[in-house]
Amino acid sequence: MKALPRASRLIALFCFSVFLLISFTFTPSYAADVGNCLLCHKYPGISRVDEEGKLRLFYVNESIFSNSVHAKVKCEGCHTDIKKIPHDVAKKVDCLVECHIIEPSSEKKFSHKDVKEFLGKSVHGPIDKEGKEKKYIEDYPTCKDCHDNPLYRPLSFFKKVRPGISEASLGRCRVCHKKEEFIYRFYNHVTTRLHKSRNPLNIAEVCARCHDNPEIVARHEMSTKAVFSYGETFHGKAARFLDERVPDCLDCHISKGESVHQMLPKEDPASSIHADNKGKICTNIDCHPSASPKLAKYSVHAEFNLKQSPAQYFFTVFFIILTGGTLLPLMFIILLDIIRRFFPNATIGRRK
């Protein structure tokens, strides 16, 4: 579909806003919606067919947004180019802008710039050590390839540790802090980070976008479709059923205590998966603390194809042949037996 000419789109926007102003009484919203963007964006139908013919939904669910980690950030804090209402077509959001929020420990304006630094030095950084762009730069992930707007996922610590908010703990905060909104926010803020915010399967899905894409795997000479091969092992299979106890991509690919954005290639001696460091992954206190270093040789990404591990490949073929080779002749005997029992007098050739 052809895009509407710009002028008519502005007219449409304008009419729409006038319509809204007339038809609806003003309700104050409780997210940090200073520019009142939700006045329009709270309506589920708000959408447009874009230049590529895809339907784009511009609806923002306020209750979900106010439960997300960015709830305190004003809409304009990220959509910085929107300065007037009705507004023009918006630019893409830059995740690294400085926002008006002050980070309390350093009292500086907050931004995610540090993450970019970490990411830049990792295997996923698009610039190599000499400062040149790497080949196939479009394959390297940016913030928005791995992230959407995450929701809080608080932990309850009363008697038992489980996901959710503990009213009992909230009661304790109330002893000293008076503002309900503050208490909820920071309870969520802290406890969400005390466990993983995504389960192993979600994490694998993020990585699968690239690491299960055969073209990207081939272009960058990686030996395996990493998420597929993870799913072949019991780690990956268990990830479908069990919770955070199962090792996910990050547990193995991040050295303890470092940012998840500092993933390094296996050739790098500082990387957690470097041959010399691999043993430490397995002997993690929560995993196989008593494992011998030999266990670390286990191929967590084995694919059992002819190229990657011929021994295992032939072994699988052997089993297929063994299964077929025993079953088919046996089935044949049964079939003959049954035929004979149903037709006791049938013969092939002549009986003497």
Partner: protein, 291 residues
């Protein structure tokens, strides 16, 4: 009398020899198709399995089904039905416990079986009664039986071979189970105790990989063999449908014994006086008696 039966067992069953009648001393000539005229209790007439074997079979088949259901659900975790089966077992944590507990029972059943068989052999050796023809030990005759049976299925010979207590199918199946149980137990142990087993295996990485493959592949193979082979053999084949009770009663029907385990039947006649009287009576009624 003992010699007469042994002679029969030694005679190779070739299609050419006309062995329609089998002479048994004190009974007379028994025609090969006498099983069509005998009376059979569907629950079984003649001893086949001891109580120990019945218990072992029970333990093995119940644990096998549980192990397959819980294990294959994990193996096929990404298929649509997996989560439903998993919740049927009470969730992944319960299922994994059930799987391990059932595995333990199956190991116990296997050890129990080894002791029963080993003890049985020692006992009969001491009593000088050991007879390898009545065991699962494969012999040349099994191959001859297969060819003979094939000829029978093709209509080239009128009767099935005279076979021992365990016929070729059962021996094949028995050794398939021994192999399967061995593979599953070793692979399962390697998976369950990765830390410890990696200190035992010469090449732990390879052993782990193989264990992972073998455990699943062997399980799938076992399930297919049980469903398509064992179940059709013991339940679906006409004459056996819908169920043989041997797995509970430990007894085989007279008709089945004579048809498929004729040589074992001759031992039965020799060892069980009532059976001898019975078969004499049948022969007399049919006018086949020689005395």
């Amino acid at each position: 009398m003992a010699t007469s039966t042994e002679n029969i067992a030694d005679t190779p069953d070739t299609a050419e020899t006309d062995d329609y009648l089998t002479y048994v001393e004190g009974v007379g000539n028994i025609p090969r198709d006498i099983y069509k005229h005998v009376k059979s209790d569907p629950l079984g007439d003649l001893p086949r399995y001891s109580m120990h074997i019945v218990i072992q079979h029970f333990m093995t088949f119940v644990t096998f089904l549980i192990l397959a259901a819980t294990g294959l659900t994990l193996h096929f975790a990404d298929l649509w039905w997996a989560p439903y089966i998993m919740s049927l077992f009470g969730g992944p944590d319960v299922a994994r416990f059930i799987h391990r507990f059932a595995a333990l029972l199956m190991v116990i059943a296997s050890v129990y079986h080894v002791f029963t068989i080993g003890g049985g052999i020692i006992y009969s050796l001491m009593k000088k009664k050991f007879n390898f023809r009545r065991t699962q030990i494969p012999v040349l005759k099994d191959i001859q039986d297969i060819t003979h049976d094939f000829k029978y299925f093709m209509g080239k010979v009128p009767h099935r071979p005279k076979m021992n207590k365990f016929m070729y199918k059962q021996k094949l199946h028995y050794f398939a189970i021994i192999w399967g149980t061995f593979v599953l137990i070793t692979a399962g142990t390697t998976l369950l105790f990765p830390e410890f087993m990696s200190t035992i295996w010469p090449n732990p990485q390879f052993a782990q990989d193989l264990a992972r493959l073998m455990h699943a592949d062997e399980a799938i193979m076992a399930v297919t063999v049980i469903v398509f082979w064992h179940w059709s053999n013991v339940h679906l084949v006409p004459g056996r449908f819908p169920l043989q009770w041997s797995f509970i009663t430990g007894k085989i029907t007279r008709e089945h014994q004579i048809e498929e385990h004729f040589l074992e039947y001759l031992y039965n006649i020799e060892e069980i006086p009532e059976e001898k009287e019975y078969i004499k009576k049948v022969l007399k009624e049919k006018g086949l008696s020689t005395d």
